[in-house]
């Protein structure tokens, strides 16, 4: 149906991106403080793996660029299940 144009911009932050695509649990409350550095680093490595990037575990430019690239809206990691390779 014609709708009012409500354009949802890409995720505002890497944290939103990782929640949106299943890398981090998208808990209701702002759980930023709940993530450990290792946990976040692991999540970033998984993002990099799904983007065929070098798995540095750091939010480098290539990873940030990847996060705003055209993509499919489905999650990469299903419902928190980590796909181990």
């Amino acid at each position: 149906l014609p709708v009012e144009r409500t354009v949802g911009p890409p995720p505002k932050s890497a944290l939103d991106f990782m929640k949106q695509y299943g890398y981090l649990k998208a808990d209701k409350e702002n759980s930023a403080a709940l993530y450990t550095e290792d946990g976040l680093s692991e999540a970033i490595k998984t993002v990099q793996r799904f983007g065929a990037l070098k798995e540095t575990g750091r939010l480098d430019n290539a990873t940030l660029k990847l996060m705003s690239s055209p993509r499919c809206g489905n999650p990469d990691v299903l419902h928190g299940k980590r796909s181990k390779r």
Partner: protein, 552 residues
């Protein structure tokens, strides 16, 4: 690869609900069919296109919020999404493409300068519709990111073939397959890639040996598998499929290949409910979402079987071609608005030679209507679409028949149009009016203007609009207007009244529109007048409608 659920059948149907004007129905249907065949060849699946939305997979285009809780984001970034198979959900398998993308068909040898290649995205999304999740293998079509096309033909990667093998060949699917599975003695030659699974002790039922040959890019893989027919217990190293065929546990399986690499693939079998809620059905969403934001949602086409939500149509035929669905006329106001079928989107021209497009900058609009939060200007057989004054939507004008499918060919203009309080669109042509629910003409359309208490023989109305202050509907003809009560379905006493009552509005107007800015606009020739709904005062002098509304 990562697998979600698979379908429990090998013959699936699909429906293409709408398409972007630029790509057109033929290209969308052809490319979807090509993508499905590509997947089907590796899963022994067959696909049949259906003209109605009661199909397994529905392909549609939408923008922004479209009532599945995952709004699109305008041009770029998220291009599309799809729903995994799931027996419990009627949205399973559906694919939604973001209408705001510039969808194009990439030519094989041509590097795509601009635009998004529809086929490669469709091939990816159909992977989801068949039960594949994203892959980290950059050569897999299930890689999450759009890589554009460099002119080479888009095809499935090895990862995808293995996923289809796992999901649709190794798994016994109840539905009799079209090919009889050969009962063969296990070949004593073992190809280097054959993995011999530890043979399971003979179970009560005879084990079937199934040998599948896979050819991919002229390399052939052959696996020999034992496929339990009815035993509910699978060999230890294979997923156990419950009768709903939903993989329920994860298994480490190592496949070694004599070719370039060895990789250990763990089948992570996600819980059936993916990140899309799969329990609630589409109808619940529509009720919930539609009632909450009923005027501004896109509802993916419903897989309804054409029963109108205004009663049950005794025949599923669409109006016009083979008679009309006779629905019970009385619609109950509480009935949930019928889910929108996006047949409104401009679609390729149906008749070979479309009628000449009128010059809208001359004004003299036939009708102007606020439909689902946007402005539609009708002139001759064309429609212009605006988000707001002077904010035209690209890709318009289109033939009105592309939005109001099944409007008989002999209708050449719309006198007036508005959206009724129950969400249906009403079109007026001469002494008749048509009720359109977004998919079909319902309520025995066309119906007589006398339902609105307008005397017969006045030769149709000039304009119609609903005043949001009192919810009443005003019908205009010549120098008079009537006020209609949508609840009692009667004309209020004391009407018609002279149009001068609106102070400064001329007779014989072309169109009228109540807009969400709290004003009502009256159009005549290439001018318009503004009535402020609060105090009912019209603007002092008319202004140019073609320039200020259409940027002429």
């Amino acid at each position: 690869f990562v697998l979600a659920n698979g379908w429990n059948k090998r013959h699936l149907t699909y429906h293409v609900a709408n398409w972007p004007y630029k790509l057109g129905e033929e290209a969308v249907a052809r490319l979807i069919g090509k993508a499905l065949k590509t997947w089907g060849d590796y899963g022994r699946l067959e696909f049949t296109r259906k003209p109605t939305p009661d199909a397994d997979i529905i392909v549609s285009f939408a923008r922004g919020y479209h009532n599945d809780m995952f709004p699109f984001d305008g041009p770029g970034y998220v291009l599309a999404h799809a729903f995994f198979p799931n027996p419990g959900s009627d949205i399973a398998g559906d694919i939604h493409f973001d209408l705001d993308e510039d969808w194009v068909e990439a030519k094989p040898q041509e590097f795509l300068e601009s635009g998004t290649d529809f086929y490669s995205v469709a091939l990816h999304e159909l992977g989801h519709s068949l039960g594949l999740a994203h892959s980290t293998d950059e050569n897999s079509i299930m890689f999450p990111y759009y890589k554009g096309t460099d002119g080479t033909s888009v095809q499935l990667g090895q990862d995808d073939l293995m996923a289809m093998y796992q999901l649709y060949i190794l798994r016994s699917i109840q539905e009799p397959t079209t090919e009889s599975t050969r009962r063969t003695k296990p070949p004593n030659t073992r190809s280097p890639t054959t993995r011999t699974r530890p043979r399971e002790p003979a179970t009560r039922t005879t084990q079937r040996e199934t040998t599948r040959l896979y050819t991919e890019n002229k390399r052939t893989y052959s696996w020999r598998t034992t496929e339990p027919t009815v035993s509910t217990r699978a060999p230890p190293n294979r997923p156990t499929y419950t009768n709903s065929m939903t993989p329920s546990t994860r298994y480490p399986t190592t496949r070694t290949r004599s070719t370039t690499y060895t990789r250990r693939t763990t089948y992570t079998t996600p819980t059936p409910s993916t990140f899309y809620p799969t329990t609630s059905t589409r109808r619940e969403w529509i009720t919930k979402e539609t009632s909450a934001s009923r005027w501004h949602t896109i509802t993916p086409p419903s897989r309804r079987d054409h029963t109108s939500s205004f009663g049950t149509s005794t025949s599923n035929s669409r109006y016009g071609s083979t008679g009309r669905g006779t629905t019970s006329h009385e619609s109950s106001a509480t009935v949930n608005r019928r889910p929108y079928s996006p047949s409104w989107y401009p679609i390729g021209s149906q008749s070979s030679t479309p009628p000449p497009e009128p010059n809208i900058c001359q004004g003299k609009f036939d009708a102007v209507a606020n439909l689902r939060g946007e402005i539609f200007i009708f002139k001759d057989e064309y429609i212009w679409r605006l988000q707001d004054l002077n904010r035209r939507v690209s890709g318009y004008p289109v033939l009105m028949r592309h939005m109001f499918q099944y409007l008989p060919e002999n209708i050449k203009k719309i006198d007036a149009a508005y959206q009724r309080s129950d969400g249906n669109m009403i079109l007026f042509t001469g002494d008749l009016y048509w009720v359109y629910d977004g998919t079909n003409f319902i309520e025995n359309s066309p119906r007589s203007l006398m339902d609105y208490g307008i005397p017969q023989g006045i030769g149709g109305i000039d304009a119609i609009q609903t005043w949001d202050r009192n919810g009443k509907t005003y019908l205009y003809k010549g120098d008079r207007f009537w006020r209609f009560n949508e609840t009692s379905k009667t004309i209020d006493p004391g009407y018609p009244q002279p149009i001068e009552k609106w102070g400064g509005i001329p007779s014989n107007i072309d169109a009228a529109l109540s807009w969400k800015d709290g004003k009502t606009y009256f159009f005549k020739d290439d001018l318009y007048w503004i009535l402020n709904n609060r105090d009912g005062i019209t603007s002092d002098s008319p202004r140019s409608s073609t320039r200020e509304w259409l940027g002429c």
